[in-house]
């Protein structure tokens, strides 16, 4: 049995559900919005990890769950909890149910795509960049500083530079230009990340276990995800083949971060170097699948359905 966790209408989850249907793999929805009709328990003892999950009055032993695809949203923001006090029975049950589910998925012997702890590297871009570097990819030179003079020297050294968040929050890449000079004095309040601008072709690589799907992205925007906002035109996505060496490094990087499924942002520079900007541990792959036709959801479904 495969467990799909989240809100079924969310695109990536829906696509994986359809893919599981297409290969006739049995699955069960853990629909967050129906938390009031769900219960769960697990035990850790000499038998290992056992337990049960009950949804709409139907119980499933956790030992029968062999695969989990989790895209849980912040349950505190569920519409069903709107207006509920912090200590209301409904909110307490929702908290306890999600806590029980998340703790079980962290230690369950099932194939979990992805566990929470390994996803953490994405919470610090420079930290993740250090791990990426160990897998043979170039990473752009980065400066995090509270000193405006260092920023100006960094721009002199690299020419064009960008700035972006250090964490995964408010993560929009912006070009740094003269209009930003007046704001540099604010740096002393919070260290800020600047990065060498790297020209070239953006490529998003989705890795599912050892399957690799690369998508070329054509856009004039600094951050193609916001192409419509930044340059008034959406990015064009096309499937492409990677060299074996790059593909193998993508698989090794994903495994090295403790992930099964990743979305890797690469840039192929004109001088032949391959830069890696980021590894997304919970990729919203539907945007790429629906625009490039690549069967990413099917790869996830096949991985989940494969018994260890």
């Amino acid at each position: 049995m495969i467990l799909l966790c989240g809100i079924p209408s969310e695109s990536p989850l829906a696509l994986v559900g359809e893919a599981l249907d297409s290969i006739s793999a049995p699955y069960l929805w853990f629909n967050q919005r129906q938390f009031a009709r769900s219960d769960m328990a697990f035990d850790i003892d000499e038998r290992g990890i056992t337990g049960w999950l009950e949804i709409d009055g139907q119980g499933v032993p956790l030992e029968s769950v062999t695969g989990v695809y989790s895209r849980l949203m912040d349950h505190a923001k569920l519409p069903e909890l709107r207006g509920e006090a912090a200590d209301s029975p409904a909110r307490k049950h929702c908290d306890a149910l999600h806590d029980t589910l998340m703790r079980w998925t962290e230690i369950s012997p099932a194939r979990v795509v992805n566990r929470v702890a390994p996803m953490g590297s994405n919470s610090s871009k420079p930290y993740q960049a250090q791990l990426i570097c160990q897998h043979g990819f170039e990473v752009p030179a980065s400066l995090i500083t509270t000193d405006p003079r260092e920023v100006l020297a960094f721009r002199d050294q690299y020419g064009k530079i960008i700035y972006k968040s250090i964490s995964g929050v408010r993560s929009i890449v912006q070009a740094f230009d003269d209009a930003d000079l007046g704001r540099l004095a604010s740096l002393r309040w919070c260290p800020t990340q600047f990065q060498q601008y790297v020209a070239g072709t953006d490529v998003r690589v989705h890795v599912v276990d050892d399957e690799v799907y690369a998508t070329r992205i054509e856009s004039e925007a600094v951050d193609y995800r916001y192409a419509k906002r930044q340059v008034g035109e959406s990015a064009k996505l096309t499937a492409m083949e990677l060299d074996d060496d790059v593909a193998e490094r993508c698989v090794a990087l994903t495994r090295g971060l403790g992930l099964v499924f990743s979305g890797i942002d690469l840039k192929f520079a004109p001088d032949g170097r391959v830069y890696c900007f980021e590894v997304n541990p919970c990729p919203g792959f539907s945007y790429f699948e629906l625009n490039s036709g690549q069967p990413i959801a099917l790869a996830v479904a096949r991985h989940l359905a494969m018994a260890d």
Partner: protein, 251 residues
Amino acid sequence: MWLVLCETHDAAAAWAHASLRAHGLAPLELLSAEQLALSEFQEHRLEGARTTLRFRTEGGLQVDGQRLRGVVNRLWTVPTGHWRQASAADQGYVQQELFAFFLSWLHALPCPVLNRPTPQGLCGQWRQESEWAWLARQAGLPVAPYRQTSRDTVDESRGERRLVPAGALVQTAIVVGGRVVGAAVPPAIAAGCVRLSELARTALLGVDLVEGAGEGWRFAGASPTPDLRLGGEPLVDALMHELRHFERAAA
């Protein structure tokens, strides 16, 4: 220079700082999370595989990450008190940014760091009680059955724990680089504590244990920030060994 990094009111860190100094570890500085966050200059660079860190505190202390010789790291949170006038959303953003910044530069330090940072904790990975119970079993430690349900009344935010019987006396063994100090435990339990430290990839680990009548020792929890004072002189010796190991290896 060696550093002890900690929260402002961390008495165990202050004790470790004083004890290490008394053992001749010098120069050794005690720096709080607030001092770090309010440093008048902070710079961290990544250029290929080369990383650097420089900061200067308001008190004028200059730190160069490449020249540090060892760090006792008990940083837990990143203070954002200097942003208290900002909106809650901006304060939350700054907290995430500073955590991400601290995680990166702590990870980049080439010297021994006890403990190395992880995305789940600046001074070592914070884990749920269930995960510790599972790891402790794999480490060979005796563990009481753990049960959790979505109808539980256990409130961990109030310190209630599933593995500790009400009223039980908890004792703490502390693993430092493979040595066990603190609570006097049988060799098999000490070996289990060391295995747990390895499985958890946490070089400095406090392992809580309870001794029940007729049941022997049982695992009750673990933390990357134990009260170091419980380890006494043997703990200071073990810390000295770990902090100087890097220099011996390089010599």
